[in-house]
Amino acid sequence: MKTQIGLTALLAALSTGAIAQNFNDPAEFERQKALLTVAAQGPDGKPWEQNLGGEKVDTAKYKKPGPYKLCFSNAGVNNPWRVVGFTNMQAEVDANKADIASFTHADAEGKDDKQISDINAFVNSGQCDALIVSPNTTAALTPAVEAAAKKLPVVVFDRGVDSKAPVTFINPIGGYGFGIQGASFIAQKIPAGGSVLALRILPGVDVLENRWAAAERIFKEKGIKVVGAEFTNGDNAKTKAIVEDYLNRFGKIDGVWMDAGATAVAALEAFEDAGKPYPVINGEDQQDFLQKWKKNKLTAIAPTYPTYQWRTPVIAAIRILKGEPVVGPTWKLPQPAITAENLDKFVNDKMPPLHYALCGCEQMTNYPARWGGK
C-alpha cells in the first residue's frame, strides 16, 4: 500500500514534467539586480579584495601565530573555469609564502560523497589551521562544512552552504546578475520582433539555472521571442550542430544568449558556416570569444563570474588566522561585464583560448606562463 503511494508519487512527478524548483527566486533576482549597481568598496584595482557592502566579522578568537597550515577541499577541476581559478589560488598561496607553512588540497572529482570524506579527513588530520571549501553542491556539503566549522575556521567560496557556520562565504554577485547583464543587452540590441536562441550547458547546476531564470525573466518582460533553449553539454560540436539546425529551421536567428561562454565561438562559427550574419550574442570572459569579438566587431557583451574570487579565500583565511576582521558572513565581490568600451583592456592573444580574462592575475609572479600564456 505504502509502496503504491510512493510509486504513484513518482509517476505523478514524472507526468507533471518539470517540478518547480527554487532556481527562480524573485527576491534574490531583485537583490542581485540591485547589487549590479552598487559601488565596490576596498582597494582600487584589486577587485578580489573589494566588497559590495558587507559587514565585518570579528575573528579574534581564531588568532594564532603563523605561519599557517591551510587546507583546501576542492569540488574538482573539471572545467577550464575551475582550472584558471585553481591556478589563481595556487599563485596567491605562493604570494603569501611568509604566512603559509603548508597548503594541502583534496580534489573531490565532482563527487559530493568524496568531498564529504575529504573534509572529514582534513578535520581529523590535525594538519589544518583553516579550511577552505569550494562545495560541489550546496545542500550535500552543508553538514560536513558545519561539522568542520566546529573545529576550525572555514572559508567557503563559489557555491555556498545552507549554514551560517563558516566564518565567511565569498562569491561575486551570482547567477541572476550574469543572466540579467546578458539578456538585457541582447534584448536592447536585437531588432523588434527578433528571435533569440538560448544555449545552456546542462540542467541542474544552480549557478547556471539562476542565470537562465534571470534571462528568461528579462526576455519575457521585454516580449522577446525565445525560439529554443537547448543544452549543449559544453560541447563545441554539439553546439554547432544545434545552431545549424536552428538556422535551417528558422532561417534567421537574431540573438544568442548563453549561460556560459565556453562554446560561444562554436555558436558563432555555425553562423559563419551557414553564411548568415552574426547574431547579437553574450559570451563570457574567455579569450577566444573576446578575440573573435574584437576581430569580427561583434555586437556582444561578456558578463562574467570572475575567477579572481579564487584568490580571496586565501587572503581571507590568513586574515582570520591573524585575527584581523574580514568581510562576512557573506563577502560579495564585484562582478563586472566586459563591453565594447572596455573590450581592448581584456583582449590578450597571448593567452590560451579558454583563459578567463577576469583572473586578476596579471600582476602575479609567473604570469602569463603559469596560466598557459606565451
Binding site: 509502496t3 510512493g6 508519487a9 512527478a13 517540478i19 577541476v77 580534489d107 559530493d112 560523497d113 581529523n124
Partner: protein, 326 residues
C-alpha cells in the same frame, strides 16, 4: 589436457587468493604513505573509520554488480538507478520523518522493478546485457532528468542517521556494508540460489540442461543488483541530505563498480569470484583516494595513475591465465 588421473584425486590447490593479497597490499600502501608523509592522523581509529566510510557507496553497489557479473551478465544501469533512488527517496520524504518508511519501501520496490525489467530484457528478449542495461539506464536517466533538475525534497534528520550515525566508533553505514557483504557471501556459498547463480554464469546451457531455471536465476541476480543500487541511492540521499539527479552519474558507479569487481578476481565472463574480492577492490579504490589526498597529487596525474592501476591490478593475476581473453 591429459594430466594424470592420479593428480586429480588429491584435493587441488585453489586459485590465487586475490582478496587477501589485494587487501594487504592496499593496507600496506595506505600505512606506508601515511608514515612517509607524516600524516599520522590517518593511522588513528578515526582515520581508518574515514577510510572505510569512503568504501560504503561504491561498496554496496559493487556487491550487487558482483552478482550480475557472476551470473554472466553486467549492469550498466546502476549509476542511473542510484540517482533515481536518491531523488525518489528525498522527494517522498520531503523532510518528514513519517515518510521514511514509505520512501524506503518505494525505492526498494522501484529498484526491484528495474532489476526485473533488466533481467527480463536480458533473459527473455535475449538482448546483450551491456546494451540492455545501457538502454535501461538511459531511459531511467531521461525520465529522471525530465522530472527533476536539482536536489528534490530533503531527507529528515532521522534518516541522516543512516549515513552519519554511529554505533560505538563504527558508522552504521560501514556496518551495513559488511553485513550485506556477509549476507551475500552466505547466499553465494551456502544457498541453492547461490550455487545456481554460479552455475548459470559458468555454463548457462549446461545449467539449463541440469534443470535449473536459468532465466529466473538471471532475473534474480539483476533484481538483487538493482536493490543494492537502490540502497546505495538511499545511502547517498542520507549522506547528501537530499537526492540529486546526477549523484549516480557523477560517482561513475557503473564503470567503477565493474572495475572493482574484476579487480577483485571475479571472472568477467561469470561463474567464478565472490564478494570478498570485490570488497578488497573497493578497499583499494578507497585507499587510492586517501593516498592521493595525503600525497597531494594533482587531479590529472591522479587519473592517469588510477587508469594504470586498474589495468595492472587485473593484469597481476590475469597474466597467468591460459587461453585468450577478449
Amino acid at each position: 589436457m591429459s594430466a594424470g588421473a592420479d593428480i586429480a584425486t588429491a584435493r587441488p590447490a585453489r586459485d590465487v587468493p586475490v582478496a587477501p593479497l589485494l587487501f594487504a597490499g592496499s593496507l600496506a600502501l595506505y600505512i606506508a604513505t601515511a608514515l612517509a608523509t607524516g600524516q599520522h592522523a590517518y593511522l588513528t581509529g578515526e582515520g581508518f573509520v574515514g577510510l572505510t566510510q569512503r568504501m560504503v557507496a561504491l561498496g554496496i553497489v559493487a556487491l550487487g554488480q558482483t552478482l550480475t557479473i557472476l551470473v554472466g551478465s553486467i549492469d550498466l544501469s546502476v549509476a542511473n538507478l542510484i540517482s533515481v533512488s536518491a531523488v525518489l527517496a528525498s522527494f517522498i520524504m520531503k523532510g518528514e520523518p513519517a515518510m521514511i518508511v514509505p520512501a524506503v519501501l518505494a525505492v526498494l520496490a522501484l529498484s526491484a522493478a528495474v532489476g526485473l525489467v533488466n533481467g527480463l530484457i536480458i533473459a527473455r528478449l535475449d538482448v546483450n546485457p551491456l546494451i540492455a542495461t545501457l538502454g535501461v539506464g538511459l531511459i531511467l536517466q531521461g525520465l529522471l532528468s525530465a522530472s527533476f533538475s536539482n536536489f528534490a525534497g530533503s531527507v529528515p534528520a532521522a534518516f541522516q542517521a543512516f549515513a552519519y550515525g554511529r554505533i560505538g566508533p563504527l558508522p552504521w553505514s560501514v556496518l551495513l556494508l559488511f553485513v550485506l557483504a556477509f549476507a551475500i557471501w552466505l547466499m553465494l556459498t551456502r544457498t541453492r540460489f547461490g550455487a545456481h547463480l554460479y552455475a548459470t554464469g559458468g555454463n548457462r546451457d549446461g545449467a539449463r540442461l541440469a534443470g535449473l531455471r536459468t532465466e529466473r536465476v538471471m532475473i534474480g541476480a539483476h533484481v538483487l543488483c538493482s536493490l543494492m543500487a537502490g540502497l546505495t541511492g538511499l545511502y547517498l540521499a542520507s549522506r547528501l541530505r537530499a537526492g540529486a539527479p546526477w549523484v549516480g552519474r557523477d560517482g561513475v558507479y557503473d564503470l567503477e563498480s565493474i572495475a572493482v569487481v574484476v579487480i577483485g578476481g571475479t571472472l568477467l565472463a561469470g561463474g567464478r569470484g565472490g564478494v570478498w574480492g570485490t570488497l578488497a577492490g573497493v578497499f583499494l579504490f578507497a585507499t587510492l583516494d586517501a593516498v592521493f589526498n595525503m600525497t597531494g597529487i594533482d587531479a590529472f596525474p591522479k587519473q592517469v595513475l588510477r587508469g594504470a592501476i586498474v589495468i595492472l591490478a587485473v593484469a597481476v593475476y590475469a597474466v597467468r591465465s591460459k587461453g585468450h581473453v577478449a
